[in-house]
């Protein structure tokens, strides 16, 4: 078999491969195109959320919008400033974090509290197991409207929250698993209740911190009153705000990165210079027999 034939077969295989990648469903955590249990497709649809691929896309006039921020990638100084400007100008920031970089944002906003990053367990007030704690204690009536319980999933808690800014707390039976053995140890672990949601007015805007982003995912949004709680939190500033869901601080799998690359390539073909370049290459190859002659 000639090398030109091998090249052709490889090309066809590559195209088939790219097609497979293109249609293979996304399974990344919190990804809005992921319709599996760990995606946020349901949230995006129900809240008509627009996705943000960069915080530079934040609106200059943020009144009437709520930015939902899930932070698994650190923020740079410019992004922190953009978030601060957004809140001070009247936007509502719903920051949801468990083991990420949410505290970086809260600190930059000058708030006294932060995400602990330690695992919150509740051996009794839970759904199925201690890592799915049920939150039943709400301090803020407006945000608790229509909410009896919110189910968390491998959550953490907030530290140093002023009492008047507490929205919700875990049960008195919950504890923080400091030694990682999933059992309460009086000498090592701390027992609850712990603050798991807080709200602070800042400038013209508002910050709401929730110690578990997992309540957004497809598999969790319908559990207990998670959706009602999210709706209350998102609409705390303005009724029916435009929801902006940041996707730029999530870990991406190789599949997603490849899909994005394909998307970029597809978009590139909308640019005349690229099209002309490709046409030129095709012409060169087509003319090759003529030159050779």
């Amino acid at each position: 078999m000639s090398w030109s034939r091998i090249l052709w077969i490889s090309g066809v295989v590559a195209v088939v491969l790219l097609l497979i990648i293109w249609v293979y469903p996304n399974r990344d955590d919190f990804n809005t195109t992921n319709n599996s249990w760990n995606g946020t497709e349901v949230f995006r649809a129900r809240f008509q959320a627009a996705t943000l691929d960069s915080l530079t896309d934040l609106p200059a006039q943020p009144v009437g919008t709520t930015l939902v921020l899930i932070s698994y990638i650190p923020f740079n100084a410019e992004e922190l400033e953009q978030i601060k400007d957004y809140v001070l100008s009247g936007g509502t920031l719903l920051i949801m974090d468990d083991y990420g970089f949410g505290s970086q944002v809260l600190e930059h906003l000058g708030l006294s509290y932060g995400f602990s990053g330690d695992l919150l367990l509740d051996p009794l007030i839970n759904y199925r197991n201690e890592q799915l704690p049920k939150i039943i204690d709400f301090s803020e009536p407006q945000l608790a409207q229509g909410v009896d319980a919110v189910l968390f999933n491998h959550a953490t808690f907030l530290t140093d929250v002023p009492e008047d800014q507490v929205i919700a707390s875990s049960s008195a039976l919950s504890f923080v698993d400091k030694d990682g053995d999933f059992a309460y140890d009086e000498e090592v672990d701390e027992n609850g209740p712990f603050v798991v949601a807080a709200s602070t007015k800042l400038g013209q805007g508002q910050v709401i911190a929730i110690a578990d982003p997992s309540i957004l995912i497809n598999g969790m949004i319908g559990m207990e009153d998670n959706e009602a709680f999210l709706r209350n939190a998102i609409g705390v500033g303005e009724p029916q705000p435009q929801v902006l869901l940041d996707q730029s601080h999530l870990s991406e799998s190789a599949l997603t990165m490849t899909k994005e690359g394909l998307g970029i390539a597809r978009n590139a073909f909308a640019y005349p210079p690229v099209v002309f370049g490709v046409v030129g290459v095709v012409l060169l190859l087509t003319w090759r027999p003529v030159w050779r002659r």
Partner: protein, 637 residues
């Protein structure tokens, strides 16, 4: 082939593993699928939680114990022990409540003994005694329930873990501390009872009377309270302080005269309930505390007043910050309804008021503060009491929200990049134009701000940014922020199709160029092909006959050449260098129709001439030339 197969297999291997490799990438976003989450129940935690409850009770922290119990009622308990746990919760809650009540009763009894109100103290101590007996019984039930729970959780089985046993022992220990508390209360009850008995023996009993004149009065009228304070022998107690109470509220005090009498006038306060209990109480003060017991007399005063009712006929379900809402209704009362003050309150602050007309109707305009937070509220409509007429109130559950204005945005459907674009719009609510609203516009990376004019209209003159594409739909996002506090921010989106003339021209030029190039190339290839596939060259050297045919073979070839040219012209099928004579015949035979057979015969003759070792006969030559001639005749050569 082997190389190609290997390369293909390698690529397929990479392809098949790619999705797996992608999904198995490193990530740290811990959550689990709740649908498939494993159910676990950690029995020691349940027992430890009850230990905490018992510890709180034994430390007399009854409210925290109750709060924890309320949370425990929502615990995820396996179905097989749920009923036992529910029973345990109920028993624990009852014990907690009983012990709390016992403590309150004992404290009250202690206070009453100090005030020398020994009869009241004895009543409280008796109640405490009953509750202590009940608590003892409940504690026995709770102890049994603890054993039952322990049994359900496998505490007494051989498989019980040390942790489970330890948790159970701790709970049993805490439960015994609760029993200890009950016993402490029992001792306290006995001590207080003893003190009360001793006080009764040591102190002189007193007696006080109370008369109301009249015993029935309208609100605002005066009545007289009088009576006499004596000891158990009827000896008047002089210059002793008497305290009056209306209901449970202390009102005033006076002192007895030289015969132990007292008297006080009272204007019946504007408290519209009946009857009201009036009390006169003697509490020994100073040195008298060691001489006399306290005494208390009470009489019910029938308070007369006019009842009032408020009936709401028009109430809003939703109100808006800073915007007046009308609330209508009617006040009815036997005491007159004209000019009654009706007020609306939200969070304790007045939101509007009105006076009733002759028929008691009112229509007040309630305006909420501009900075009120959105949410659910209770609006209280109150008709104030007036003289002998009682007030009335009614609550309205309503929501505070903002109205959403309507925004219309008008743009051309199609615009060209780098040209100007006019965006017009209007803002209104229910047909009323909203002026002065701030309007932000964002379009393709450019933004602008303006305010709505009278008539609610706004406009932007924009320069359409250069687009790198040939054309496409782009969004124009408009955010409207009205200055009126009752109106909410609203967003609208319009879209225009932006065309880039430069890119269209560039693409057109490219398409034309490609067309020209392809046309030119085709022609060039046709020429080359024509050169390559010339019929003279197609006949190979064997068919070439130079000059006049010299022998029979050349005569047959010449006849064939002549015929083949005619066939080529007639059919348009050119003979190719790689074709045999037979292949050429097969390609042309059908197209020649009835002449095909003649051309086939000629082909056979030329094949015989070319490939047969014998030279063509004269008959063959004549036949070949006849066929060529007939073909020339038929094909018009």
């Amino acid at each position: 082939m082997r190389k190609a197969t290997s390369a293909l297999l390698l690529v397929l291997l990479i392809a098949s593993s790619l999705p797996w490799a992608a999904s198995a990438g490193p990530r740290y976003t811990p959550h689990e699928n709740p649908e498939t989450a494993q159910s676990t129940f950690y029995a020691p935690s349940l027992l430890s939680s009850y230990s905490t409850v018992m510890w709180l009770i034994s430390n007399r922290d009854f409210s925290d114990a109750e709060s924890l119990l309320e949370q425990l009622k929502q615990a995820a308990i396996p179905d097989e022990i749920k009923s036992a746990v529910d029973l345990y919760n109920r028993l624990t809650s009852e014990v907690n409540e009983m012990l709390e009540n016992i403590e309150e009763l004992l404290q009250e009894a202690d206070s009453l003994i100090n005030q020398r109100l020994l009869d009241d103290a004895r009543a409280k101590l008796a109640q405490a005694g009953v509750l202590l007996d009940a608590a003892e019984s409940k504690l026995r039930d709770l102890t049994q329930a603890t054993i039952t729970i322990g049994d359900h959780l496998g505490v007494f089985g051989s498989a019980a873990t040390d942790e489970l046993k330890e948790a159970y022992d701790t709970l049993a220990g805490m439960l015994s501390r609760v029993g200890q508390l009950r016993e402490d209360y029992e001792r306290l009850l006995q001590e207080l009872s003893q003190i009360a008995v001793e006080a009764e023996q040591q102190l002189t009993a007193t007696s006080i009377t109370l008369d109301l004149d009249p015993g029935e009065a309208w609100v605002g009228e005066n009545i007289n309270l009088s009576g006499r304070l004596t000891d158990k022998d009827g000896t008047p107690l002089v210059d002793k302080s008497i305290t009056f109470y209306i209901g449970e509220s202390s009102w005033t005090s006076t002192t007895t005269d030289g015969d132990g009498y007292y008297s006080e006038d009272l204007t019946v306060p504007a408290h519209y309930s009946s009857p009201r209990t009036m009390k006169a109480e003697y509490i020994p003060q100073g040195a008298d505390k060691n001489i006399y017991q306290a005494s208390l007399a009470s009489q019910d005063l029938v308070v007369l007043f006019h009842q009032s009712q408020i009936e709401l006929t028009d109430v809003p379900q939703e109100m808006y910050p800073g915007l007046a809402s009308t609330i209508s209704g009617r006040v009815t009362s036997t005491g007159g309804v004209v000019g009654r003050e009706v007020e609306a309150f939200i969070k304790g602050a007045i939101a509007g008021k009105d006076l009733t007309d002759v028929e008691g109707n009112f229509q007040l305009e309630a305006t909420l503060p501009s900075d009120i937070e959105l949410g659910s509220y209770t609006l209280e409509i109150v008709v104030k009491p007036r003289e002998k007429s009682a007030g009335a109130s009614q609550d309205i559950e309503m929501k505070v929200a903002r109205l959403i204005p309507e925004v219309a945005v008008h743009t051309p459907r199609i615009v060209f990049s780098s040209k100007s674009l006019r965006v017009d719009g209007s803002v209104s609510y229910a047909g009323t134009p909203i002026s002065g609203a701030i309007v932000n516009l964002s379009f393709g990376g450019i933004s602008g701000t303006t305010t709505t004019e009278a008539g609610g209209i706004f406009g932007f003159d924009l320069s359409v940014p250069w687009t790198p594409t040939i054309g496409g739909r782009q969004s124009i996002d408009v955010t409207v922020m009205p200055t009126e506090p009752w109106l909410g921010t609203v967003q609208a989106r319009a879209s225009v199709f932006v065309l880039s003339p430069f890119n269209i021209a560039l693409l057109s030029a490219a398409v034309i160029a490609i067309g020209v190039v392809l046309y030119w190339r085709r022609r060039h290839l046709d020429i080359l092909s024509a050169e390559e596939e010339s019929p003279t060259e197609a006949v190979e050297e064997q068919l070439i006959v130079e000059g006049e045919p010299r022998d029979s073979k050349e005569r047959v070839l010449a006849a064939y050449n002549q015929a083949m040219r005619l066939v080529q012209e007639r059919t348009g099928v050119l003979s190719k260098p790689q074709q045999t004579l037979r292949e050429y015949l097969n390609k042309t035979r059908d197209k020649l129709e009835q002449l095909g057979n003649s051309f086939a015969e000629l082909t056979s003759l030329v094949e015989k001439a070319l490939y047969s070792p014998s030279i063509p006969s004269d008959e063959d030559v004549v036949r070949a030339e006849q066929i060529a001639q007939s073909l020339r005749k038929e094909l018009g050569g």
